[in-house]
Symmetry: C2
Subunit: 307 residues, 2 copies
């Protein structure tokens, strides 16, 4: 089934202990679309860039079967730009520069031929903008997944809570789950957040994996222990892209299938962090993907026969 | 097969956000022995206490089929005492008091009828004392597991490295693995540490689970997401006890069986933290244990058919 992805397409300048980049391709919707493209060939992108955005990036997305009809290119304006520097532990970072540019007055327009998409991925954006996208859909999608961040909890909590009521799955990190719920225990946090709207909650713990909650059920997917995490930028979005891409292709939104989707999402995140930016997500082979998923299987599977 | 456990038997006074205890039963060997007793009935304890140690604690251990012939009771002396206070996140703690007492000149004497034990668990202790125990054994045990901590890396690194050469499995936490190896990446840290002696390395990550390394293989066991972690004291020792208790009973030290052992160890740790001190580890039923292990199975098992 068709997948609609809304989120930022951006330039990032990244510094990690391993090196430094000039302006490279980034943005939540970029990572989500690329990761999803390994599972479904029906990825439809809605985003906005400026005149400075290279056509080669658009071609690259199209080569990954991402439909870019919904990518607005605003004349005389500049693409959203973020610069950040990661600390040595790679778990924390400082924002050096944020230039909103085209994002400042972003008015998402979902093209007519996207309006019946049955899977909707709302990348991290102003909560009001996320709502505007849902409002445009012809009928309520089969599954709406939403990402967000602490920034919106700080400055737009009411809007965020309104969006939460409209979605099925929320993906946030552990600190954000604590902030949103006011609970330190992630189990308690999850129970509170699922009362705010989403029936499913994914708590991302970075190098410590991810938890999926639904009613009383809980599933845990590890992160793959890697020799080096080169650049964590986009890991959460790659995770979300693999997750919803797999669900959109299999059309099965049961808890058991979400488990599989989370493993595929984790695999995409593990690729993402191995190189700067989107580099590793471009042109992966099926063989590489299968091998990586097998590593996840080997990492956690055990065989205990209970009496 | 018989299991020999060496380590501290102590009094702890613990403060957590949930409450405060007076002097209660604690010590690495206490937790290890209790946890192991749910898997094997042949646990032999070597430790030391003072005259102030209540006989009721000894009876309790014996009721759990722990042989206490090797527990020295030193007349006119006092039991090792530790007092600590956990911070709100439960991951860090301050030591308020450490009174070594009987531990100051602890000379471990392994009783004659323990000397052919085939499984040896060296709880966290002065590395030289750990060596003395190995030296007393009639023949080299089938498996030696060693726990240690950053304190010994700070003040007795050379002794620690000597002990490392003599053991098969090392259990340490993630920060200690980084300190011991000088590597931030746990994958790289593991490769370096396994060159120091132990063929197997278990890195404990507290609420984030545990990793088992052996050659190029790696296995990950999650921690159970709990509503409340009441008191983390003894979690690592309970983990080690369940781990070696299961191995001693099944007599199988293959990587696959160690995976199972780590799940049982994780189950014991999850019980441990639900109450203060050893309280939850006393008198658990087989039904409780089976139910808990099933929760681990449900938490991580998924079914992906790769093409």
């Amino acid at each position: 089934m068709s997948l609609l992805v809304i989120g930022t397409v951006a330039f990032d300048a990244i510094e990690t202990p391993f090196g430094k980049t000039d302006k490279i391709l980034g943005g939540a919707a970029t990572y989500i679309s690329l990761a999803a493209s390994y599972f479904t060939k029906k990825v439809n992108l809605v985003s906005v860039v400026g005149e400075d955005f290279p056509v080669s990036n658009i071609s690259m997305l199209q080569k990954h079967c991402v439909n870019t009809d919904g990518l607005q290119v605003l004349k005389g304006q500049k693409t959203f730009f973020w610069a950040g520097k990661y600390h040595n532990d790679m778990n924390t970072r400082d924002t050096i520069t944020t230039e909103l540019n085209v994002l400042e007055h972003f008015n998402p327009i979902v093209p007519e031929h996207y309006l019946d998409c049955e899977f909707l991925m709302l990348g991290n954006l102003v909560p009001k903008v996320q709502q505007q996208v849902i409002a445009q859909m012809k009928q309520r999608p089969k599954l709406i997944v939403m990402d967000t961040m602490n920034f919106w909890m700080d400055i737009a909590m009411n809007d965020l809570k309104e969006t939460l009521k409209m979605v099925d799955v929320l993906t946030i990190n552990d600190e954000e789950a604590r902030q949103l719920s006011g609970e330190y225990s992630l189990v308690k946090a999850a129970q509170k957040i699922m009362k705010m709207g989403p029936k499913f909650l994914i708590i991302k713990k970075g190098e410590h994996g991810a938890l999926l909650f639904h009613n009383e059920q809980v599933f845990f997917a590890p992160a793959l222990p890697l020799e080096d995490v080169f650049d964590p930028t986009g890991a959460g979005d790659s995770f979300a892209g693999g997750f919803i891409g797999y669900l959109a292709e299999t059309k099965d939104i049961s808890f058991d299938n979400m488990k599989r989707a989370i493993i595929f999402g984790s695999a995409m995140a593990s690729f993402c962090v191995e190189k700067f930016g989107t580099e590793k997500l471009i042109g992966l082979s099926q063989e590489q993907l299968d091998k990586r998923v097998q590593e996840f299987v080997d990492l956690v599977q055990f065989d205990i026969a209970l009496v």
